[in-house]
Structure formats: structure tokens, C-alpha cells
Subunit: 364 residues, 2 copies
């Protein structure tokens, strides 16, 4: 076997392990729910549906962080850690979709939309939208609790005071802080100084995305395997710029991506008013009248194809897309250089290189 | 000292311990947040504000469950458990208030309302209501994570697989399921069979309130102190009917309470469309035309004083208030009888009796 096919085989085994464990965990939770009432079945149903798909980027970062630090393949603890990360991500997505008013997720209805539809199908009373949001808030809370329950199952490696537990705690707090900065910038950005918008957008992606999606999961896997401080520091030099590039790629796709491939309607990030690094560059580099136009259009849920096309034109012509692509390239380079400096065996090195390439060059 | 003054002294010491520990914990979290951005300060600020007040019923149940099972006074582990319960309760209240559209909490603005006001004071762009809800969703998530972080700090007594951890996990899952049943009944109740409404309302209060507010906290304290199965069973025979009576008292106050004393506008439970046991009795016992009137009025946010007074009249005249008061009395009796059967020393016995009396006879 080549290193690449070895990586694929091992990854598949891990992902299957995570999927199987998640399915068993949720089935036990469904049994508990059944003792409460058959009416609560859709809560776990929504969570199961959500953890079935996805790129499993965080679980994989965690896995290779573990393997890179000498953790054995197929260890149940790392599979449990992968489940905890997947459940945490599902919880975050459920609440994110309420916050962003996103009715679709991975090509299907988002959780609040599912409950909204359940209401309408059953001809229930009062407001179906409010019911959908309320049910999804509770489902997200349940999923957040499950994530922690799963993480604790790891036992002594994740016990109180352990490095892994500290990383897990900081990860959760920082991503929630980062998400708050994100929604704050949507509303405060238009009345704050334009010159600071790129720096603020960089801070948002660092906390809401880079630390959460790549840096902390990789460190978590390493810490669970007992990685020394030096290795964790090296991990961070690779994973933080990688995560930043990953999120900027996501932001570019949010404006320029093909809806067929991304599974999200074109221009949704603009309708939500996301003030990304891409937008920050545009606000600063576009002629004042066009920058004002962007400020007026961002966060307008009624943006049509014509306006989305016009915003794209402004972003391209002022050089903001080029500036963002340069930054993605620079961060990627920094990440790949740091990766090559890591004292890793062949297998985790090849695997992380592969994950990194997929993260920054993807189309969806 | 009499037993009562001994209880008061010990309780005060415990509550001060919880308050001090919460304040230290949140101040450390604020330090972490400060490394992210000064902008995220209001998240922890809202949580601090919320955990400062309240009856601390759950923490006290936990404390006396611990003491009743032989746990020593002033042990740091039980203080930490009290913090975890208070943080969990704060998280639940933050999300509850979004779900119920409650703009006040303990006489002040609720968390989503605070963020809503922050938006307006700063003249930020886009929708202040949406921003308030989104920020409160994230604040509740953060607080839920803090609850778990605090619970894990207990260490080996709350480690993976321990009875205390199992109770904590089941408590969280059941209360979220119960809250879902609550919002489901608001919308599905009007189109479901009226005959089942009292039973459904009883199931809701069992899971969303009785198990969560009294049964699980008491058991948790007991389990942390290593209580045998038999004692935990006895605890439950006391605390479950007590919690049901407690919630029914709350429901009666939600319709008939004095806003000056409860801190909530009169009739808010009716405007939210809460289908309580009280309402269930009324729907079944009132003349059909009046039952239909209740079905039409419940969940109408525009209910004025005249309608609230009319609903009260219907509830009183059909005997639903009497039926509810009888049930409260019956459940209270059952709880107090079970309490006297518990093999407790004088101090925890007196304390639990006092807590139970306050819970079922309160006016706020």
C-alpha cells in the first residue's frame, strides 16, 4: 500500500468507528427519550440526521493529532473524542442556522425548518416559525449536552484538570465568543470605522472558525495521546493559518460559489450581512459610492440576482477578491511550511497534508 | 442554637460559598474572553447578572441531599455542584425567555432584551430584536458549557460512569425533553383530544420541572456523598411529588399571582399559551362554549386585562382552580409523608421540610 491508500484505509476505519459509535449513542438517548414520551422522538431524529453527513473535518484533525503524537490506531478513546466533536459541531450548526435564518443545511431543511414543517404538516395552532425556532433551540441544547456527555465518556484522559479537558473547555468558550463577534460585526460593522474592518474580520474567523475547526481539534487529539508542549505548539503553527485560510475559502465560496456544489443559495452570506475579510477589503478598496452601496445592501434579506451580481462586480473590480486570494495563498503557504517542520511519522504527515489541501482548495 | 437557626446558618454559608465560587469562576472566564476581544464582555456580564439572584432551590436541594447522605458541611465538591446547577439553571432561563418571548426576568430585562437594548443604545444597524435573540442563544450556550465545566471540576466523585454523572446527564436530557413537550402542547394542544390534556400537562411538569427542580438535584447531592440506592429511592418519593406541587403552584401564580410579588406581568402564561394542569382542568370542566373561548384566547399575545379577567373567571367558576389546589394539597401531603419516612438526621430533615414548605406555599 502507498502512504495515501494507507491513510484512506485508516481514515475510513476511524470515520466508520465514529459513525457507529454516534449511532449507538443516539439510539441509547432515543431509548431514554421514549421513556419520557413518543412525542419527543423528532429531537434525536434531527440530531441523527445532522451527524450522518458532513466532512468530519474536526474529527479527522483530532484523529491525526492523536496519531501524530503516537496514539494507536483504532483506540476507542479517540473514536469517542471524534463523536464529541461531531456532536458539538451539530449543536453549533443547529443554533447557527436559527441565528442566520438558514433554511437549508447540506441540501435538506435545517433543524428549525424541519420543526416548522412538522408544525405545518400537522395543522398545529399558533405560529409555525416560532415553534420551529423554539424546538431547534432545545434540540441544539440537547446536542450540546450530548457532546459533553460523550467527551466525558473518554474517562481519565479527559478528566478534570487534564490538558485535553482544558482544550475542550477553551474551544467551546472561544467559538461562542467568535460567533458573537460575527453577529456583532453584522450590526455594528456599518457604524464602525471602515479601516478596522479587515482586522475585525480576521479576529472573527480566528475565533469562530480557525481555532475551532482546526487548531483545537488537532491539539485535542495530541493532548489525548499525551503530546508534549513543543509538539502542540508546532501543531498550532500549522493549524491556525490553515483554519484561517479554510474559513476565507468558505467566505469566497459564500459569495462566488456554485449553489449546485455548495448546497447553499448563491449570495446567502450577503443577505445575512456577513462581514468577512473579503467584504472588509471591498469596503476599504472600492470607490466610496460603491462602498456605501455595499454597506446598504449587506444584511438585506431581499437581495435578488441583480444585486448579488452587482456586489460581486464591486468586489472583483476593486481588487478585494484578489487580495483575499493572496491572503489565502499566504496563509496556506505558512501552514504547509509549518507542517513540513513537524516531527511526524509518514502516515500522519501525509494525512494532514491531504486534509489541508482539501480544506483550502475545495469548491464546496 | 435551635435546629432552624442551625439550618439557616449552614445554608447561608453554603449559598455564600456558591456565590463566591460562581463569581471567581465567571471572573476567570471573563479573563479568557478579554483575550478574545473586549467586545464579548456582555456575554459573561449577562450570566453574572443572572446567577446573582434567584431562590437557589436546586443548589439547596442538592446540598441537603448531600448532607442527608452523610456528606460533610462546607465541602468544596458540593459547592462546585451547586455552581454547576445554578449555571445550568441560568442557561435554561436564558433560552426559555427567548422561547417564551419574556422580556423581563426577576424584575429586570431578560438576556435577549438586554442585548436588544444594547443594540438600540449603540444605534447599530439591521434588526435589534434578531440581534438580541441571536446573542442570547449564544450566551445560553456559553452558560450551558460553563455548567458542565463546573460540574467536571468536582473530579472523581463526578467522573465518567459515576452515579452523580449519570444523574446530571439524565437531568439535562429530561428537562430539555420536558421543555419540548411544553412548547409542543402549546401548539398541538388545541387540536388534540381535550380528555388527555390534564395527563399531558402532568407529564410536562414532571419532566420540565419536578424532576429537574427537585428530584434530580436532591439525588445528585445524595449520589455525590455516596448515598445507597434505598436512600435515593426515598429521596425520590419525597422530591417528585414536591416538585410537581411546586410547578402547579407556579402555574396558579402565573394566572392569579400578583405582578408586584411575582415580578412577571399578570396573565403572561396565558399570552404564551402555556397549557398547564390548571388550564387542562378548565378545558375539560368548563361549559363547551367557554372551553372553546379558552382555546381561542390561549397563546394570543394581545390579551388585555379584560380577557385575562374573563379567563380567570372561567377557570374559577368551572372548578379548575379548586381541582388544581386539591391536587397541590394531595401531592404536598404525599411529599411530606415521604419526607418523614426518610432516615435522616435532624438537620437535613428540618432543612428539607423548610424548603418543601417554601416551595408549595410561596406567593412568588
Amino acid at each position: 500500500m502507498t502512504a495515501t491508500s494507507h491513510v484512506t484505509a485508516e481514515q475510513t476505519q476511524f470515520i466508520n468507528g465514529v459513525a457507529g459509535k454516534l449511532s449507538g449513542f443516539l439510539s441509547e438517548q432515543q431509548d431514554l427519550m421514549a421513556t419520557v414520551s413518543p412525542d419527543v422522538e423528532p429531537l434525536i431524529g434531527s440530531i441523527s440526521n445532522l451527524v450522518t453527513g458532513g466532512k468530519r473535518l474536526r474529527a479527522l484533525m483530532c484523529y491525526w493529532g492523536w496519531r501524530g503524537a503516537g496514539g494507536p490506531a483504532g483506540d476507542p478513546d479517540i473514536i469517542t473524542a471524534g463523536c464529541a466533536l461531531e456532536l458539538f459541531q451539530a449543536a453549533a450548526l443547529i443554533h447557527d442556522d436559527i441565528i442566520d435564518r438558514s433554511d437549508t443545511r447540506r441540501g435538506g431543511p435545517s433543524v428549525h425548518k424541519r420543526f416548522n414543517q412538522l408544525h405545518e404538516m400537522n395543522g398545529w395552532a399558533l405560529d409555525s416559525g416560532r415553534f420551529g425556532d423554539a424546538a431547534a433551540i432545545l434540540t441544539g441544547d440537547l446536542c450540546l449536552s450530548f457532546s459533553e456527555e460523550s467527551f466525558t465518556e473518554i474517562g481519565h484522559r479527559a478528566a478534570a484538570g487534564s490538558p485535553a479537558r482544558r482544550i475542550f473547555n477553551v474551544m467551546r468558550a472561544e467559538v461562542m465568543a467568535g460567533q458573537y463577534l460575527d453577529i456583532l460585526e453584522e450590526v455594528a460593522g456599518p457604524v464602525r470605522d471602515r479601516a478596522g474592518s479587515v482586522e475585525r474580520a480576521k479576529s472573527i474567523i480566528r475565533y469562530k472558525s480557525a481555532k475551532y475547526s482546526t487548531e483545537h481539534p488537532l491539539a485535542l487529539g495530541g493532548a489525548l495521546a499525551g503530546a508534549p508542549e513543543g509538539l502542540l505548539k508546532g501543531y498550532s503553527e500549522f493549524s491556525l493559518p490553515l483554519g484561517e485560510a479554510f474559513q476565507m475559502r468558505d467566505d469566497v465560496l459564500g459569495v462566488f460559489g456554485d449553489p449546485e456544489t455548495t448546497g447553499k443559495p448563491a449570495g446567502d452570506d450577503l443577505r445575512e450581512g456577513k462581514r468577512t475579510v473579503l467584504v472588509g477589503f471591498a469596503i476599504n478598496q472600492a470607490p466610496p459610492a460603491e462602498a456605501d452601496y455595499l454597506d446598504r445592501m449587506l444584511g438585506n434579506p431581499g437581495l435578488g440576482e441583480v444585486e448579488v451580481a452587482e456586489i460581486r462586480r464591486v468586489i472583483v473590480e476593486c481588487g478585494a477578491l484578489d487580495a483575499t486570494e493572496s491572503l489565502i495563498a499566504e496563509l496556506s503557504n505558512r501552514a504547509f511550511e509549518a507542517l513540513e517542520r513537524l516531527p511526524l511519522e509518514d502516515l500522519p504527515l501525509v494525512a494532514l497534508r491531504q486534509l489541508a489541501e482539501a480544506a483550502v482548495s475545495r469548491a464546496a
